[in-house]
Symmetry: C2
Amino acid sequence: MKIAVFGTGIVGQVIANRLSGLGHTVCVGTRDVAKALARTDKDVYGNQPFGKWYEQNVNTVSLGTYAEAAASSEIIFNCTMGQGSIEALKQAGGSNLKGKVIIDISNPLDFSKGMPPFLSPGNTDSLGELIQRTFPDVKVVKTLNTMNCYLMVNPAALPGDHTVFVSGNDGGAKATAKEILKSFGWKESNMIDLGDISTARGTEQLLPIWIRLYGALQTAMFNFSIVIGKSPM
Amino acid sequence: MKIAVFGTGIVGQVIANRLSGLGHTVCVGTRDVAKALARTDKDVYGNQPFGKWYEQNVNTVSLGTYAEAAASSEIIFNCTMGQGSIEALKQAGGSNLKGKVIIDISNPLDFSKGMPPFLSPGNTDSLGELIQRTFPDVKVVKTLNTMNCYLMVNPAALPGDHTVFVSGNDGGAKATAKEILKSFGWKESNMIDLGDISTARGTEQLLPIWIRLYGALQTAMFNFSIVIGKSPM
């Protein structure tokens, strides 16, 4: 499929590599192509700068503005920072988004008041819902936002069963997202469809404990697993 | 030990039964003893009314006002509805609480705007922190609030490993809470100490997805498990 990956950070890089490795035609979307290529600073986690990554992947992945990436794609992976997602999608342009599936894997973490971050929007709203409300013509599927990006594309990196959640209003769009999850290595039995896009409030609210677990466990290689009993209570 | 259990709902009943079965001296605390005993209505989940439960447990559990229960106890289990917790603790009286461990297993779910409930306080605060701030002389430990009450006291009801979180500022109080968890059947390897009481924001924010999982799975017999990788990412 033709897939746009919005965002040039480590999450966008890992998702773009995985999708192109699976044979998809991938275009990374960014605000300013020249600026993205000129970026030579490592990110806060010490990951290589986008320019260097793109140099290594120029034969398998293309690069464009949000509008160019969206225009050439059937599906959009939103891997931007949550605080910038709405602006990125606005720059893509409504006509380039219309009718498309947006797989939203971002989280609306607000670090403006220091650590720990809070969710904005949060509690009575979610980024998934906000995107769906702002762009009613798209089909938002919230998924993968509850784990680090290496696990997203390679669930076998953890032993045994663990869970990926799926939220969205459109059954067909969720089926498309689940096919992509399967191609990443996710077993159908480890996918939990929570319901409509308002259930994204639930998965986005996993981030505060994710951050605290990252601190307590001193590793990002962990995930939530839902253990279910055999009999009713 | 002498333990007060605040709250006469199903959570308080199950906790009180388990603690008294383990040999502790248990006093259930409530706002109005006569009113609690007169309650003949089943709760929303169809559980038996408090008066009937107490009739069956009168030989092993005592009953008193919040103040009476707190005065006679070394440890207080807060099993009240989150929206009423501060008022219940105020009724207990500061001098009856001073220096004691409060094991807070409640959640600040606000149903005033219908379903789904939201958290109040939430996002930038938590009930655990609010209790600790309001009563600086007590030692709040937030734990067990992320699962149904039958699992709290009997983790073996689910197969394999699953997780209980612990948050609190006082190391000694957390050690006391962990001893009680162990007596309930929790393996130390399944307890995750998240850090200070501000990490209660993390566990309280698991409730929104808990409620959606309850809807999607059609059972309350499930729990979160944190699956941890063997190597760093």
